[in-house]
Amino acid sequence: AELKKLGLAVANLQANFFNQIKQSVEAEAKKRGIEVITVDAKGDGPTQVNQIQDLLTQKIDALIYIPAGAAAATVPVKLAKSAGIPVVNVDRNAEGAPGDTFLATDSVASAKAVCDYILKEAGGKGKMVIIHGQKGTTPEVDRSKGCAESLKAYPDVKVVAEQFSNIWSQDEGFQIMQNMLQANPDVSIVFAQADGLALGAAQAIKVANPSQKIVVGGFDGDTAALEALSKGVFNVTATQQTQKMGRDAVENAAKLVAGEKVPPVQLLDATLTTKENVAGFIANHP
Amino acid sequence: MRRCAVTDPVLSLRGISKWYGPLQVLKNVSLDVYPGEVVALLGENGAGKSTLSGIIAGSRTPSEGSMTWLGQPYAPATPREAIDKGVVLIHQELQLLPQLSIAENVFIGRWPMKNGVVDRAQMVRRAQDQLARLNLHIPATRTVAGLSTANQQLIEIAKALALNAKLLILDEPTAALGGAETEALFEQVRKLRSQGVGIVYISHRMEEIKRITDRIVVLRDGERVQEFSDSATPVRTIVESMVGRPLDRLFPALPVPTDHPVLQVSGLCSPDNSFRDVTFDVRAGEILGIAGLVGAGRTELVRAISGADPISAGSIKLEGEELRLRDPADAIAKGIVMVPEDRKEQGLVVGHRIGENIIYANLDKLGGRWITPSVKRSFAEKAVAKFGVKGRAEQYASDLSGGNQQKVVIAKWLMRDPKVVVLDEPTRGIDVGARAGIYDIIVNLAKRGVAVIVVSSDLEEVLGVSNRILVLAQGKQAGILNRDQANDVSVMELATI
């Protein structure tokens, strides 16, 4: 069979990372003459289940699926499977019901790299806070795991506060960091699990104007974040290959529809990005 | 006082008609009002008096006809335009903002300004002056909420007086007023008349009409049917012109009460002292009137008896059994029901159908089974028919005239066969014809052995309908008069101690 109509179910278009993937999927599909139907769950699992029902009603040939929540992730896959539609999971995968293939960044390794960098930058000691992503989602779980590994090597760093965000957004990052700074004014290290959160945190720090230096690490390589990185707004991120992820997703969907076999998990690298090497990513996002 | 033939009218109406959809409520009405005269506008409920007032004051637009103001064509599109010309209407319904101060209410929409800002000090001062004109000595900075209806009505009047009107229309200004307040109002009306203000006066109280007005114009079914300018015209003639048929009598003959006491009240006190140490009983088949000046505590007393307000001391016994009333439901369950003084806020859900309103008071009787539309309709229709409500069960209460609304309130209670019926101001704002109907209902209740309590500010009414009259003065029981001892002098003497 041939891939003619593709459903794209996005978790939340307000996150730049997803928006980049969406734009890449749509560009790639256009190139191949494939029709894409995009739906945005705005972070709500039940909404996404409804949307996927509607996609299936429209007889899509394949589904690219970025789960909106941690909890409901299995249902859409089951729905699609029972309709005989192949599923490409991107960024997040559900344990009980994985997609036919899963495309994502190796978050454990990349988060370890980011944390290694900020912990070293801070001199290997001090108080640290972690702003998590949406609780229980694959990237949140993996990035927490990666950073924890890194922390093992730095016994003098004390994690004094951890909080979860809901939609990985800048407002949330700002709010959470502001709260954390009130309770812990002497924080010197911040790991925010996405660039939106990191940018918000950096701004909260700027507004609070603390006496100590605070190192901030993010994740993603959001368009706006890379600009900010180049201006020294925060210290480091891991740039994910969003463009490639989008292209690969379409590619894999086409293969699955054609009946070809694809590996169940395909992890991509993210590149540790600092002020030094950011220019290349701004010019040309991977 | 006769108008001078050479002066021109301030206001002339020619051929005014008004339709609401297919319903014509004013038919080709013409009217002149001259400076310095008081014209009474009379008619039954629904005759079109308020509609005509609204047209003059710019709050409604006529469907046909024309008006002139001081000789110039006059067609106000908004109340503002009319007010600016000097046409001021005191609406039948209170038009006050309870959350705001009295002063602000008096000057609403026309705040005294100084340097582009509202001059609050001046506003309070001037409002206080206006209140003083009506013998009202309440601080003008007080909020309106919580004031008695009578005082609110006086504020409404003060609001109009502050406007320096050339034409003042008063739509039932005394419906909620007692004798003293009415006098204060009349004094102001006379003063304005002597200053050359033209006045249109609407009321259902015939004795007032005779006292204050120079000329009487009667509306019937939206038509101007007659004019009386001879002050010697007997009331009966005027009333018959209003209702369009001969009227035999207003008050029916009272039955003789039994000796069996149904309700016994002793030493009753209210927590806020609005009445103290009240003791009386009402026998089966008896009508007990309660009289007193405005603010004497009559409403509070009957509300307490019917469970609407708490008491702080004393006892209420029904057929010998002492009652502990925590809320109206308790009283209703025992057979004590009340027709409250404020029809629109307490008696009826005006936005709902008549049938529903009747059902609301009888839900426990209908409860436990399915209230199907047919159950509901037959129940409501029975009530409507039994008490002569002019209307159908599925009509909205808001579509009925005041008199018919009042009958619905009575009907909803009487379907329960109560032992004690309390009526607080049962004929407020109701025309003479409809009033006779309500008196008939009251007397028929007594004939059936019900104990009836009637509270009224209309002295003629209490005198006409009661076997005995309890008089309250500032919350204290001033005395109980038998029918043969009671007359306006004896009642007023007790009320003013």
Partner: protein, 325 residues
């Protein structure tokens, strides 16, 4: 037809007029359906119809409770949180405490009922405005829902549970859709034919009139908030079946959706007027609109704009209709 009139006292015209404020929305709904049937080849199919029913179960159940609340002139902002609380209590009971799932369901309904009871007591005994009482409960119940598992979701319930939302019995209705329809029907019968139902209208029409008519206004009020919360809890259980999981952030923002459905359906926010029929129309408008926009392949951002416009049209149509009349 003539028989109809005699039996139910209502001609078909009268039936229409029974919907009162909802005729505009009904026209809007029908117009929407006609438009979607013509402009897509997927909308008008049994399968899609059943999908829509599936999709509105949660909203539909919550909207029934909200109709009660709005009818008495109140408002309930806590429904989304009550839903989450019920879900977490159920999940915890079944998957952490290890009790049978039905016990979890009972606990869940009790938990949401308690939340409604607290709201009812705050409103009637402490005179806290409903808006504030339910706003506070929205925050507090969400907090408790989060604390149960420290913010963690719980995944995986017995198969029979999930099947309630998936198995189409007799090839048509899932158990959850059936439940919603049963709730709607029961609520309609209750409001129309039971004296307790009529009390809601009286209280909403004018609480003082209702009190003087012998109706126990505080009791009715408390009952209504408990009902609204329990129905939100029930909706949470349906949602759990649909998602085969529970998480404490469920139902965020549902309060506005639910109120919108009720108000679009012609129930007046000032109380005393409206009903379940209108609410069903309101729920369907929201459901059909979201479904249709997906089928039309309207881009997500434009969808938001169109949803806004259609809601205004559906409600505004009522005004225009009245003006003509």
């Amino acid at each position: 037809m003539a028989l109809d009139i005699n039996e139910h006292g209502l001609s078909s015209g009268a039936w229409l007029s029974k919907l009162k404020g909802a005729t505009g929305p009904l026209v809007g709904l029908l117009a929407l359906c006609v438009f979607l049937s013509l402009s897509t080849d997927t909308f008008l199919s049994v399968r899609n119809g059943l999908n829509i029913l599936d999709q509105i179960t949660v909203l539909g159940i919550m909207a029934v409770g909200m109709t009660f609340v709005i009818l008495i002139g109140g408002i309930d902002l806590s429904v989304g949180s009550a839903l989450a609380l019920a879900m977490m209590v159920m999940g915890w009971t079944a998957n952490v405490a290890g009790l049978p799932l039905p016990v979890g369901i009972v606990f869940a309904l009790v938990a949401s009922g308690v939340s409604g009871l607290i709201v009812g007591l705050l409103v009637t005994q402490f005179r806290v405005p409903a808006f504030i009482a339910t706003l506070a409960m929205m925050s507090a119940a969400r907090g408790v829902a989060n604390m149960i598992t420290d913010g963690q979701q719980i995944v995986g319930f017995p198969d029979w549970f999930m099947m309630l939302a998936i198995d189409r019995h007799f090839g048509v209705l899932t158990a959850t859709v059936f439940l919603m329809l049963a709730v709607v029907l029961a609520a309609w019968l209750f409001l129309h034919f039971r004296s307790e139902g009529r009390m809601l209208y009286a209280v909403g029409g004018n609480p003082e009139v209702a009190r003087l008519a012998g109706i126990n206004v505080p009791l009715v009020t408390i009952g209504v908030y408990v009902a609204s919360s329990v129905l939100a809890g029930l909706a949470g259980i349906v949602l759990a079946a649909r998602l085969d999981s529970v998480q404490p952030s469920s139902g965020l923002g549902y309060e506005l959706d639910t109120i919108a459905a009720v108000v679009i359906g012609g129930t007046s926010l000032s109380g005393g007027a409206g009903g379940i029929g209108g609410t069903l129309i309101g729920v369907l408008i929201i459901g059909v609109l979201r479904n249709g926009l997906n089928l039309l392949n309207v881009s997500p951002f434009l969808q938001q704009v169109i949803i806004g416009i259609v809601i205004v049209l559906a409600v505004g149509a009522e005004t225009i209709r009245r003006r003509r009349a």
